[in-house]
């Protein structure tokens, strides 16, 4: 049987912020239906890598493919040229994102946030999108908040709306950029609970997180980054019980004492 196409294939990605190398020659495959947690100290490049995956950050070099189709840049080497805006927007509809600070659109209701892109970008009929939106909101326990505005919600509720907004795109992959870092401690659980549920359902997810025990529990694959490089790719069991690098060892020791 032929090998399955990775949901995301990262090849030789570098990111240079005016002399500072945030990412150095990153290669990574994300298998479909798996949950990948990216761990690493602050400034290790994990969020930058995540933001490169949907081209919010433009890699200085390298390529990214979603389900085999390129995003952001077409062709390789000298023949590479940037995708036009429309093609890039279309490619982005296959990878939804959940942001650290929620990034809900404040002038739209909760349901409006969830249906905005399905209706206006994907062109789904409004009635259908609203019905689906309401059922997604019910799944994350927010059915009764559908017609409220985001500012009336708690942080945990906002992040669950943001997850609903991502699910409503029926994306191939969902990217999570430190989804619980901006939350009060008592709200972290409700958001992680939803993500855990999605992992169980077999969604493809890439999660940048500092929640070590969550990562250990939910991930199929741990990616450990440090200094703009991927230092380890392992199963949670292997990573947490037998890290191969000293840096990972140190990180796990420190990580278990700080969030």
């Amino acid at each position: 049987m032929a090998e399955t196409v990775p949901a995301i294939a990262v090849r030789g990605v570098c990111k240079d912020f005016g002399g500072f190398e945030a990412l150095r020659d990153i290669d990574l495959d994300i298998a479909p239906g798996t949950t990948t947690c990216i761990l690493g100290p602050s400034g290790s490049g994990k969020s930058t890598l995540l933001r490169c995956l949907n081209w919010l950050e433009e890699p200085s070099a390298g390529s990214i493919r979603i389900d085999g189709a390129p995003i952001g840049r077409i062709g390789t080497g000298k023949a590479a040229r940037p995708m036009d805006r429309r093609a890039l927007a279309a490619a982005r509809t296959r990878i939804a994102m959940v942001f650290q600070h929620f990034a809900l659109w404040p002038h739209l209701t909760v349901l409006g946030n969830v249906t905005e892109a399905p209706v206006h970008v994907l062109g789904r009929p409004r009635r259908e999108a609203e019905a689906e939106g309401r059922s997604i909101l019910a799944r994350v326990g927010l059915a009764e908040k559908a017609d409220m505005y985001p500012h009336t919600l708690s942080g945990g509720q906002k992040q669950r709306v943001a997850i609903s907004r991502a699910l409503a795109m029926r994306p191939r992959v969902i990217l999570f950029d430190e989804p619980t870092s901006a939350l009060d401690p008592e709200m972290v659980g409700e958001v992680l609970g939803v993500i855990r549920e999605l992992a169980r359902e077999g969604l493809t997810m890439v999660i940048v997180t500092h929640e070590m025990s969550f990562a250990r529990d939910v991930a199929d694959t741990i990616v450990f980054m440090e200094g703009g490089c991927i230092r380890e790719v392992a199963t949670p069991h292997d990573f947490f019980t037998a890290p191969r690098t000293d840096r990972a060892k140190g990180f796990i020791l420190r990580g278990s004492s700080t969030p």
Binding site: R92, A96, F99, A103, P106, H107, H120, V121, Y149, T152
Partner: protein, 218 residues
């Protein structure tokens, strides 16, 4: 004959003048609001040469006294072969002037939209035009309402200067009545009252937007 009587007997003149003021201001807004948005988009998005050219033009318009601009349009353009009657000359000068200010208001309001909101729109595949129509402009309409209201009131006041180029607007009407009946106070006071009324209508509009803002943004 006392002043109030004069005003009452010339009410048709006042209504005509007020009608012209309102039609000029509404016509101006109908043109300058979309043009101001378009200008702000160019000031935000366009490549450097076009952007810089428009920025210079906007600065130029904003530093010209409005009366001088009206003179140029009404008395100057005919020399270049474009003769407008006074109402149209008034509309053109008022629109140019207001558009310059609105473009600056919209440009700064665009910048005030949270970077996160825009990034989320990009991540969800919204095109540039959807980003403006669905995410930026609806927020700007609410957040910039007080500044836009201010500008509308300024435009109403500026329209009074158009009497100098013989536009028969409200100040022209008051001046006409006062000159013909040698009673300056009452006609001008009546005009002041009518201007105040127009401003109150604008302010009520701003208050309603403010209520929407509080409902949505807390």
């Amino acid at each position: 004959m006392n002043g109030l009587q004069v005003v009452w007997e010339n009410r048709a003149v006042f209504l005509w003048g007020a009608g012209n003021t309102v039609s000029l201001v509404l016509g101006c807004l109908l043109l300058s609001l979309p043009l101001g948005v378009l200008g702000a988009v160019v000031l935000t998005e366009a490549a450097a040469p076009l952007r810089r050219l428009l920025a210079e033009l906007v600065d130029l318009l904003r530093c010209v006294p409005f009366l001088l601009l009206a003179y140029v349009v009404y008395y100057g353009l005919p020399e270049l072969g474009l003769r407008l009657d006074s109402w149209w000359a008034g509309l053109v000068s008022l629109t140019l002037y207001t558009t310059a200010y609105l473009a600056e208001i919209f440009r700064s309001a665009f910048r005030a939209v949270a970077k996160d909101d825009i990034e989320a729109a990009q991540a969800f595949g919204l095109s540039r035009s959807l980003l403006y129509r669905r995410i930026i402009l609806p927020q700007v309409a609410i957040t910039a309402a007080p500044m836009i209201g201010n500008q509308i009131i300024t435009t109403i006041r500026d329209s009074a200067l158009l009497m100098i180029i013989t536009v028969q607007e409200l100040t022209f009407a008051a001046n006409f009545v006062s000159a013909n009946h040698f009673t300056p106070f009452a006609p001008f006071a009546a005009a002041v009252g009518l201007y105040l009324l127009l401003s109150l209508v604008v302010e009520e509009g701003v208050r309603r937007m403010e209520r929407v803002r509080r409902l949505r943004y807390g």
